[in-house]
């Protein structure tokens, strides 16, 4: 890596440390509900600015890093919301966690994330009083239908013993083909959990930093692609409902396998600007081949200065080379014994 990268990274580290912003706590009269997040001013409605062609302006560079996980920790049971004090304490604990880098640990072998400004505590996160991104009393992905369980079991059985045979045996993310945060639904990623929204005539473009894929969403009411055309990120169509962009995505592949989903995955997202620095993101996931009922989640995306960096995953994929050649070396060693 060039010297400039280190300078940029350390600059980011310092800037990020200074820029960890907690949204100010809401007043006591603030509204909460099972489908709402605590907003800054409570129930005050917000009218977003408009683009020159009259659409609600969602544009900007955002972090969707989250202090709460997708699924509620089991020990929290059915507790859907923290109190404000609990949420602050939880966030503080999460943001001050450091990777263990003792010799031989993942942090030691991979690299020290803090050194490159990649730890969560070095990013900007949006506040939440939720205990998980998934909403509702369970707060967890529903159990898969028996047919889906069988499908997943068969897949695992076929893979067993062949984990390092070749690149196709590795996961889509390790192959730099698709990352799990991309969805849709878009979820927080381990680091550089950033995205950029740009709006032009008749389109909303959403670029996720990892791994630089652009979701190009037409808002002109055209139909989806034919049903037999499958894409890893599916096929998205958007329309405006008041100040909210509603995006409907179908045409997934069966390899996308979002939490074990099939190609019948169907996701609906809603994007609403709630203040100059925040966009509320809601999603509903359904797949009649995988879950009995749909499930939903929501979080806030918070504006950051950026820039979005180029995540040239495949171009720098030494990991794949090292994993496969390491597996071959292990086999050769075993064969010699």
């Amino acid at each position: 890596m060039s010297k400039r990268f280190f300078e940029a990274a350390s600059g980011t580290l310092i800037a990020a440390a200074a820029a960890i912003v907690l949204l100010s706590p809401a007043p006591a009269a603030a509204q909460t509900s099972s489908t709402g997040l605590l907003t800054k001013e409570g129930a005050k409605p917000y009218t977003p600015p408009r683009t020159p062609d009259g659409k609600p302006d969602l544009q900007g560079i955002y972090s969707n890093a989250s202090v709460v996980p997708l699924e509620r920790p089991k020990d929290l049971g059915s507790k859907e919301f923290f109190t404000k004090a609990e949420a602050d304490a939880y966030e503080k604990a999460q943001m001050s966690r450091h990777e263990v880098v003792a010799p031989g640990t993942y942090g030691d072998v991979h690299y020290n994330m803090q050194q490159f400004g990649l730890e969560k505590g070095q990013t900007k996160v949006a506040e939440t009083i939720r205990t998980s991104i998934i909403v509702g009393p369970e707060g967890r992905v529903p159990p898969p239908l028996p047919a889906a369980q069988a499908r997943q079991a068969a897949r695992q059985a076929a893979a067993k013993g062949h984990e390092f045979d070749g690149p196709e045996n590795r996961g889509l993310s390790e192959r730099c083909i698709l990352w799990p945060n991309e969805g849709p639904p878009m979820l927080p990623e381990g680091y550089n959990s950033n995205l950029q929204i740009v709006q032009g005539e008749g389109y909303v473009a959403i670029m996720q930093e990892t791994i630089h894929d652009v979701r190009m969403i037409p808002t002109d009411g055209r139909p989806h692609l034919p049903a037999d055309v499958h894409q890893l990120l599916g096929d998205s169509r958007g329309h405006w409902e008041g100040n909210t962009l509603v995006v409907d995505t179908t045409n997934y592949t069966d390899r996308t396998a979002f939490r074990g989903s099939s190609e019948n995955l169907h996701v609906v997202e809603r994007f609403t600007r709630t203040d100059p620095d925040t966009v509320k993101y809601e999603f509903t996931v359904s797949d009649p081949s995988t879950w009995e009922k749909s499930w939903s989640g929501e979080y806030l995306m918070t504006k950051i200065d950026g820039p979005i960096f180029e995540y040239a995953c495949h171009e720098g994929n030494y990991g794949m080379h090292n994993n496969l050649s390491g597996a071959r070396a292990e086999e050769a060693k075993k064969a010699q014994k």
Partner: protein
């Protein structure tokens, strides 16, 4: 007696609506009144009159009129008053195979025959010469000889700028006031052009760091921070990490843009050089960029030798 001589088949760049052209032979004055004109017609208007043989370059005449009149094509504008570049575009040439003029040739796989032969092309390099420094000639020759193994496009690597523009796949421009995003179908390549105050590239990248501004109806994009890992084409034309590209996108009709790029790289070339080509709008209903994630098609090439069992096919 007035004669009219012109280059046979001279083609106007745009339509001309000349209201009135009057010639006064007593004082050899020519006046043009009104209408929209264009300045590139290369006919000469030769007069043999009492004024003597006077060879008038009509272009100069039209240039005078043009100064007071409009330009050839007035582009549709976005709601914030800028030329509207939104849309799905594609180059219609074989520059990705070879940016210089080239005849057809056999491809690398004889059993794939005509499907995968190298198609001919008239090239996109102005003057058809790429001014390599003498010391760089060997590397160019080496690249050309190794083109079917060493071209980064084979591995589905990001194509860089300007190659991304003339890959044989569509790309889409999404234009807002502050940012212009260009999404390329190939390999999910993407660039964002910052339309605000120019900033230096914080780090090198495959697709570079783009600062844009408007000059009249032309989008000018200054690209720096490009790494040295891309090629200009499949014929091994290459550059160093000092590459500096200035692109110009100019609407030339409702459904075409004129694309020009100046290439500067003092480590490899003795002087800057230019490429230019039209870009054509995809006008079919519901035109859409589809996913072209070519990484998995390149895995055998990149990792095939690391498989547990080689592929039988």
């Amino acid at each position: 007696m007035v004669g009219w001589s012109g280059r046979a088949g001279a083609k106007p760049m745009a339509s001309i609506a000349l209201t009135r052209l009057t010639f006064n032979p007593s004082n050899c004055n020519i006046s043009v009144a009104g209408g929209s004109v264009f300045a590139r017609w290369e006919n000469t208007f030769r007069m043999q009159t009492r004024c003597g043989s006077t060879k008038l370059i009509l272009a100069a005449l039209f240039a005078v009129a043009t100064a007071a009149a409009q330009t050839a094509y007035k582009p549709v504008r976005t709601a914030d008053g800028k030329p509207d570049l939104n849309g799905i575009w594609q180059a219609l040439n074989t520059a990705d195979w070879d940016i210089q003029a080239h005849a057809a040739a056999a491809g690398p796989a004889p059993m794939l025959a005509a499907d995968f032969a190298i198609p001919p092309g008239t090239g996109i390099v102005e003057g058809n010469e790429i001014p390599y420094l003498p010391a760089m000639a060997d590397k160019r020759k080496q690249n050309l000889q190794n083109r079917f193994t060493a071209d980064p496009e084979l591995k589905c690597y990001l194509p860089g700028v300007p190659r991304a523009t003339y890959m044989p796949y569509p790309f889409q421009i999404v234009q807002s006031s502050k940012t212009i995003l260009i999404s390329y179908e190939y390999a999910g390549a993407v660039r964002t052009i910052d339309m605000g105050k120019p900033t230096p590239a914080p780090v090198d990248s495959w697709m570079g760091w783009s600062n844009g501004h408007w000059e009249g109806d032309t989008l000018v994009v200054d690209v720096t921070g490009l790494n040295d890992k891309t090629w200009f084409d499949r014929a091994g034309n290459f550059h160093s990490g000092d590459l500096h590209v200035v692109e110009r996108y100019t609407p030339r009709s409702a459904d075409t843009l004129m694309y020009e790029a100046t290439i500067e790289d003092p480590k490899v070339f003795s002087k800057p050089w230019k490429i230019s080509m039209p870009l054509y709008r995809h006008v079919e209903k519901n035109a859409q960029l589809l996913e072209f994630k070519c990484v998995e098609f390149a895995e055998e090439l990149i990792y095939g030798n690391l498989r547990k069992q080689p592929r039988t096919k």
